[in-house]
Amino acid sequence: MSRGRVALALLFAALAVFPAFAGPYALSVATLVLYFAYTGQAWNVMMGFAGQLSLGHSLYVGVGAYAAGAIFFHYGIGPWAGLWVAILLCVALGVLIGFLAFRFGISGVYFALLTIAFAEFTRIGFDHLDWVGGPGGMFLRVAQRDTWDIANFRGPPLMYYYVILALASLALLLCHFLLKSRAGYYWQAIRENEEAAQALGINTFRWKVCAVALSSAMTAVAGVFFAFYYNNLFPEQIFNISRSIEIILGPIIGGLGTLFGPILGAAVLTLLSDGITELLAALGWEIPGVKQVFYGVVLLVVVMFLPHGIWPALARRLKLDA
């Protein structure tokens, strides 16, 4: 086994036993890190592998969350059924956006703006959709938080931690195999030089749509998790462009197109954000906005001095790049 695999196995083992030593606060932070590791991995399929910049991934989180949430809210049917509805809806949306964009030859900045437009359009649409509560939000019933009710996906924070750990691990495995598969090589070819890929006989249109579909399906699952973990959904929050930005910060800071970048980026950013909060509280500087300014400055510095992200630089240093 290579050094990289040993390190990964150790990390997984540490995360598996982590709740035994962690308090409720640490557990919630770890859940958040894994959530962003998962969504970052999903976004990375589209941008990191296939080179299609989406700035509207909150669309899939929101539609997924609202689909499974509304089915539970209105009919009392647990998320195992709602999950498939969520995935189906998000894949349909993703394929629609991808189909329209790639058919009309929209790429780069224009594609990114198109994804924002769809997310914003949907946000305002949900604001006027009374079936899911409109701007007042939708609240899922919170009951029996002590026992693990897997069928309805209700339970203590520990359950959500293990579920998101499983999701993040599965996503990592999936991406690992994808990168070494035919699809993965096609995507990377498209990312590096689309015209050359086309000249080699790759149906770039189809493979780009595939990347969007897979990415949106994975993000839909995150949306379902979000709905049942937080239990309240507001269009203004869940579809907001800042949610999309949160999703993509991790993979870009961690290392775009790498397997471990999204995980490292999510950990660094979440811990940084919480660390700044703690530090400011200790210093007594709890003025609203100070934390975000620090966060912005760190972001600026990382983007300026580590253009490929933290992971490639770190992996070289630790000889983990296998």
């Binding site: 941008m47 910049l53 700035l55 329209l100 964009a101 009309f104 030859g105 929209i106 780069g108 900045v109 224009y110 990114a112 703006l113 198109l114 924002i116 437009a117 769809f118 914003e120 359009f121 305002i124 649409g125 604001d127 006027h128 701007p135 462009i241 800042s242 930005i245 993509i248 910060l249 870009i252 775009l256 003025i287 609203p288 906005g289 100070v290 934390k291 975000q292 300014v293 966060y295 912005g296 400055v297 972001l299 600026l300 983007v303 300026m304 253009p307």
Partner: protein
């Protein structure tokens, strides 16, 4: 619905749209020349709006006078931002530029929050309550002045690019980066100058807009998106297109607010954005690449 009501709303939409157009003009000029999408554009405008509101609160300086110092400072800051931070990024991939400007946007919004707090600010001058009467039309004086200022600023910018040697040099950079360097133009300086001019546009638009709406730190992302919609609809990089797009969005939002629901008006803009992106990605007045 009474026709004069609709007409009143349309006229107000056109006037506000001209101010939006000037804001978008800044974005369009920066993109057209530097090829960087300024994701901090709306945030820069809220900073200008706060600057005008603060100058009014401190010295009761009318925003129409405040526009000169605010625009000058914005020009210098824009120049410094491009020369210091963005120039090294012009050859980097789009997502990298995006991250950089998002970081700038986060810093700006929250710096405003620290300095001014979350409450809405505005300016109160006596002509805000007055209006011109044209038959059954009632037009707010402040709105007319704001639109006039926007048009004057846009004309100045047009003539700068059209008639001065520096303006010509900047257009040369936009048309052919390599050619501009071959003939010995200092491209980085010209890029910084362009970003400064774009920032000055935003500053003027902000000073005009603070007469029409209350400003909060959270407005920034909204205006960024609005500026995107306008320049895409008008044609990214086209100067006339930005003004036309501004008027179009100003009118359509005003009418949609009247006919459907005020909260649903942006849905209309984003729908329009999607249609234009798909059917005419170069925008209404843009040239095909």
């Amino acid at each position: 619905m009474a026709p004069e009501l609709v007409l009143n709303v349309v006229v107000a939409g056109v006037l506000t749209g001209l101010v939006y157009g000037l804001m978008a003009l800044g974005l369009s000029v920066i993109f057209g020349v530097v090829r960087v999408v300024n994701f901090a554009h709306g945030e820069m405008m809220t900073v200008a709006m706060y600057a005008a509101a603060a100058l009014f609160a401190a010295f009761s300086l009318d925003p129409f006078l405040a526009v000169l110092p605010v625009a000058a400072v914005f020009f210098l800051l824009g120049y410094a931002l491009q020369a210091g931070i963005i120039n090294p990024f012009i050859t980097r991939p789009e997502h990298s530029q995006f991250m950089l400007l998002v970081a700038v946007a986060i810093i700006l919004v929250n710096a405003l929050l620290i300095v001014f707090g979350p409450d809405a600010r505005n300016v109160q001058v006596d002509y805000q309550l007055e209006s011109y009467e044209l038959g059954k039309l009632l037009i707010d004086k402040a709105r007319v002045f704001a639109a006039g200022l926007a048009v004057v600023a846009a004309l100045l910018l047009f003539s700068f690019f059209r008639f001065t040697l520096t303006g010509k040099a900047i257009r040369a950079c936009a048309d052919n980066y390599l050619g501009a360097r071959v003939v010995g133009l200092n491209v980085k300086h010209l890029y910084a100058l362009t970003f400064g001019l774009g920032s000055a546009c935003v500053a003027v638009a902000g000073c005009a807009l603070v007469l029409l709406v209350d400003v909060t730190p959270g407005l920034g992302p909204y205006y960024t998106l609005l500026a995107f919609v306008i320049v895409i609809v008008g044609g990214l990089g086209s100067m006339g297109g930005a003004l036309l797009g501004g008027v179009l969005i100003g009118v359509s939002e005003a009418v949609a607010g009247l006919l459907i629901a005020p909260s649903a008006k942006s849905m209309f803009s984003f729908g329009l954005l999607i249609l234009v992106l798909l059917l005419r990605p170069q925008g209404l007045l843009g040239k095909r690449a």
